[in-house]
């Protein structure tokens, strides 16, 4: 259980990278706009973990401050994005992003 007690920077980064990968995967492959938003949240949180990990191992507070800002921004982003999604739904009666391609050409 050494790994559980001796957690280094790489562990954090690995988790963060995995989280980013899942998030990106969700954004790139899901059709539901809500799920894509959730993927975006994952990406944001992966970034948060990175910030905090570097902050912890670097000894400063900048990373903490950044992550706090990102959390706030993520909340705001989620609100706006959900509003957009609701409006898209009102317009297209669907939240399937592959069906919404009126910007094509």
């Amino acid at each position: 259980m050494e790994i559980l007690t001796n957690i280094g920077l790489n562990h954090y980064l690995t988790i963060s990278a995995l989280l980013f990968g899942f998030g990106l995967f969700a954004v790139m492959t899901r059709k539901n706009a809500i799920v894509i938003l959730m993927g975006v949240e994952l990406i944001l949180n992966a970034a948060n973990i990175n910030f905090l990990a570097f902050s912890k191992f670097n000894g400063g507070m900048e990373g903490v401050m950044f992550s706090l800002f990102i959390i706030v921004l993520a909340a705001a982003e989620a609100a706006i994005a959900l509003a957009i999604v609701i409006n898209i739904f009102k317009l297209f009666k669907s939240v399937d992003v592959s069906a919404i391609d009126t910007m094509k050409e």
Partner: protein, 768 residues
């Protein structure tokens, strides 16, 4: 300002007022406003006569002179010219006063006469307006004190003359005549203007008095030839305006105008303006210029007299007679008989105006018949016209007891004196031509009187179609009923008769001189003495040598005529001296004890004056003989019919045709100047069509080429670049738009790819 100057300004401007009123309002005034013209001219004449009375009669001073001027335009200091100021001014001396009275009197009488002659004309009011502007311009010439303003008025009388000659402008002949008059005058006026410029370039003033003063002070820098040139160029103005050879051709054609106009402008005043102008500049004329003037005058007098003999149109005879008499005046000035020339100007103005108005009365009464061949017998029908016409004719022919005799005789005496003083054989041509013309004058006037007034009416002899060929040129402006009448011929009304009577009365000797044989005893020649020349004293001295050498011979010649007793001559001299108020001081008299009239310090002038005085009696005799000869010739041919004029004409057909066709001057000008101008015009037109147009067309073609070249550049290069840009973006857009799928996730993939590519790039950079 002198009160006379103020009056003279009123005299000048009143006819202008008449013009302005009549030209704008004649249709709104009763009687088309003729009373305005007549009334204003009457007032003008009254004022002029007051000036005449104050200057000539009351002050009776040959050197009377008042002047006034003002700066009209001040150009400041003009580069290359110097200070340039143009002044306008008025000068009043005896000559001006006499001319003023003469011009306004004749103008007034012509206005009065025109109320009868022009009655019923559709442009009746405009006629009086034109007469008004003419009178204004003529008075301007008379009153001007400088060359610039006289030039302005000179052109204005030219304009009035143009308007009035072409008064019946519907007729082509009248329109042609007015153009001819204007162009012939232009030729002379160009010369006059050049002459003015020569003088101005030397003295920087236009004023007569200042120019003469400068000349007398010897401030003329250039050679004397230039002064001679200036004199002859100024004389060219006179040649044009006074219809002297070789520019005389316009005056006979000017008879296309209404007859009162012929009387006023083309007989009495405007054509005399040339003579007046030469008199004004007389003192600056050099000896050479005077010789030219004398010869031109003599040739004109002779030539016109020979032409007048064969003309059939009553007005053309008078027109050539006018040219001939103007030739006399110019001759008089040329030979230095200044007073005599001006005397003749005034006497001629009166009797010739009378003759023209008389002929107008005849034409009016004959229903616009002008051809003397179809007149005759008018004496019984028109007694007043007959009497006045005859009196004026006698004055023109130069019979003793008339004004014309005195003035013509004075000129001819001057001509003999000139020839004697110059002493050259060739100079005797001048008096010879003068005397010969006097005979011709008597002859053609006798012929005219006979054809018009005596015998039986020949109206019925007129060929029916005659007024269509050869005559319609001077024809009627209206009724064409010449065929019945003679019954219709009657004396004219009072408004046409009164001018005739007044003018005829002024042709009597007593008006001018108490002695019917010697005009020099009269007030006129005393008031207008020959002025002292301001040039050529040097050449005058040279002449003096010649003249005194010839003096004795000339004296012998004068005495060779038996009728002239020397004692009588001397008596006459003493009388002349006694009544002479001008030069009381004992002048140096240039070598001869008894003074003859005005004495001159210039020896040439003195010699001429002396010789002229000696020749006076001789001139009287010769000219009387010539007149009697001329009249008897006319009697022989036309009254007693010893010689049949038609057969004589056939016998000397070439000569007859030469005279009848006016010495072929019109044809000569047609063949030379007019054809020449046409040839030059054609050459220029060819040049224009081929060279100038070629240049223009070449420029056009070149421009077209350049245009095509730049057009090609524009089309292929510029448009190509633009089109290529469009094409490039169109194509690339067509390719790139495939990326624009509208699917958000595609964009995310692309974004990721971009990031990855960037990272790959970044790391490869780090590695190297």
């Amino acid at each position: 300002m002198h009160s006379l100057i103020q009056i003279s300004i009123a005299v000048l401007l009143l006819p202008l007022l008449s013009f302005v009123i009549l030209i704008f309002f004649n249709k709104r005034l009763p009687r088309r406003g003729d009373f305005v013209g007549v009334g204003i001219l009457g007032a003008t004449f009254a004022l002029s006569f007051y000036i005449f009375w104050s200057v000539v009669v009351q002050s009776y001073d040959p050197s009377f002179r008042i002047a006034w001027d003002f700066t009209w335009i001040d150009f400041g200091n003009v580069p290359g010219v110097g200070p340039l100021q143009i002044k306008m001014g008025i000068v009043i001396d005896n000559l001006t006063a006499i001319m003023l009275a003469m011009v306004t009197l004749i103008s007034f009488l012509v206005h009065l006469y025109s109320t009868g002659y022009m009655a019923g004309d559709p442009r009746y009011g405009r006629f009086f307006a034109y007469l008004g502007i003419f009178t204004f311009s003529m008075l301007g010439i008379v009153l001007s004190d400088n060359l610039f303003s006289i030039y302005i008025f000179w052109e204005l009388v030219g304009l009035s003359s143009y308007l009035l000659i072409g008064f019946y402008f519907e007729k082509d002949t009248a329109a042609d005549a007015q153009k001819k008059a204007f162009l012939a005058n232009r030729v002379g006026d160009i010369g006059m203007w050049l002459g003015i410029l020569i003088l101005y370039s030397q003295f920087h003033t236009f004023n007569y008095q200042e120019i003469f003063q400068n000349l007398a002070d010897g401030k003329f820098d250039m050679s004397e030839a230039w002064l001679t040139a200036a004199g002859i160029l100024l004389f060219m103005g006179c040649v044009g305006k006074s219809a002297q050879f070789p520019l005389h051709v316009w005056l006979p054609d000017a008879m296309e105008g209404p007859t009162p106009v012929s009387a006023l402008i083309h007989a009495a005043t405007m054509v005399a303006a040339g003579v007046y102008f030469v008199a004004r500049i007389f003192v600056l004329l050099t000896v050479d210029a005077l010789h030219v003037i004398a010869f031109i005058g003599a040739i004109t007098a002779f030539m016109a007299a020979t032409i007048a003999i064969t003309q059939n149109d009553i007005k053309r005879v008078l027109a050539y007679s006018t040219v001939s008499q103007l030739g006399y005046m110019v001759l008089g000035l040329g030979v230095g008989a200044y007073s005599a020339a001006l005397f003749h100007l005034v006497t001629h103005a009166f009797f010739k105006a009378c003759l023209f108005l008389g002929s107008g009365a005849i034409i009016h009464a004959m229903h616009h018949e002008q051809d003397m061949r179809w007149m005759g017998g008018l004496r019984k029908h028109m007694p007043w016209t007959f009497a006045t016409f005859t009196l004026a004719t006698l004055a023109l022919a130069g019979l003793p007891l008339t004004s014309g005799f005195m003035s013509k005789d004075a000129i001819l005496a001057g001509a003999i004196g000139f020839a004697n003083a110059e002493g050259g054989g060739i100079y005797y041509i001048i008096p010879f031509l003068g005397f010969f013309s006097a005979m011709l004058t008597a002859f053609y006037m006798g012929r005219q009187i006979w054809l018009v007034f005596f015998g039986e009416s020949r109206t019925h002899l007129k060929p029916a179609d005659d007024h269509h060929h050869g005559h319609d040129a001077h024809g009627s402006h209206g009724h064409d009923d010449h065929h019945e009448e003679v019954h219709g011929v009657h004396e004219v009304a009072w408004n046409m008769r009164a001018p005739l009577v007044i003018l005829a009365a002024l042709s009597i000797f007593a008006v001018y001189s108490p002695d019917p044989l010697d005009g020099a005893k009269g007030w006129f020649m005393k008031m207008i003495p020959t002025p002292e020349t301001v040039v050529g004293s040097a050449s005058g001295k040279a002449e003096h040598g010649t003249s005194s050498a010839n003096h004795n011979a000339a004296h012998l010649l004068a005495e060779a005529v038996p009728a002239v007793g020397h004692s009588a001559e001397t008596d006459a001299h003493h009388e002349g001296v006694a009544s002479e108020v001008i030069h009381e001081e004992d002048s140096h008299a240039a070598g001869h004890g008894d003074g003859h009239g005005p004495e001159f310090s210039d020896p040439r002038q003195a010699a001429i004056a002396h010789e002229a005085h000696d020749a006076h009696k001789l001139a009287i005799v010769i000219s009387s003989v010539m007149v009697v000869l001329g009249i008897s010739l006319a009697l022989i041919v036309y009254v007693f019919r010893f010689v049949d004029p038609d057969r004589t004409a056939r016998a000397i057909r070439p000569l007859y045709l030469f005279s009848f066709n006016k010495w072929y001057w019109d044809e000569i000008y047609q063949a030379t100047f007019i054809k020449g101008s046409i040839v030059i015009s054609k050459v220029l037109s060819w040049f224009d069509a081929n060279v100038v147009d070629g240049i223009v067309n070449g420029a056009g073609a070149l421009t077209r080429r350049v245009g095509f070249a730049t057009g090609g550049f524009d089309k292929y290069v510029v448009d190509g670049a633009v089109n290529f840009t469009a094409f490039f973006f169109n194509t690339s857009g067509a390719v790139l738009k495939k990326l624009q799928t509208g699917k958000v996730q595609t964009y995310v993939v692309l974004l990721m790819l971009a990031v990855i590519v960037y990272f790959i790039y970044y790391f490869t950079q780090l590695i190297y």
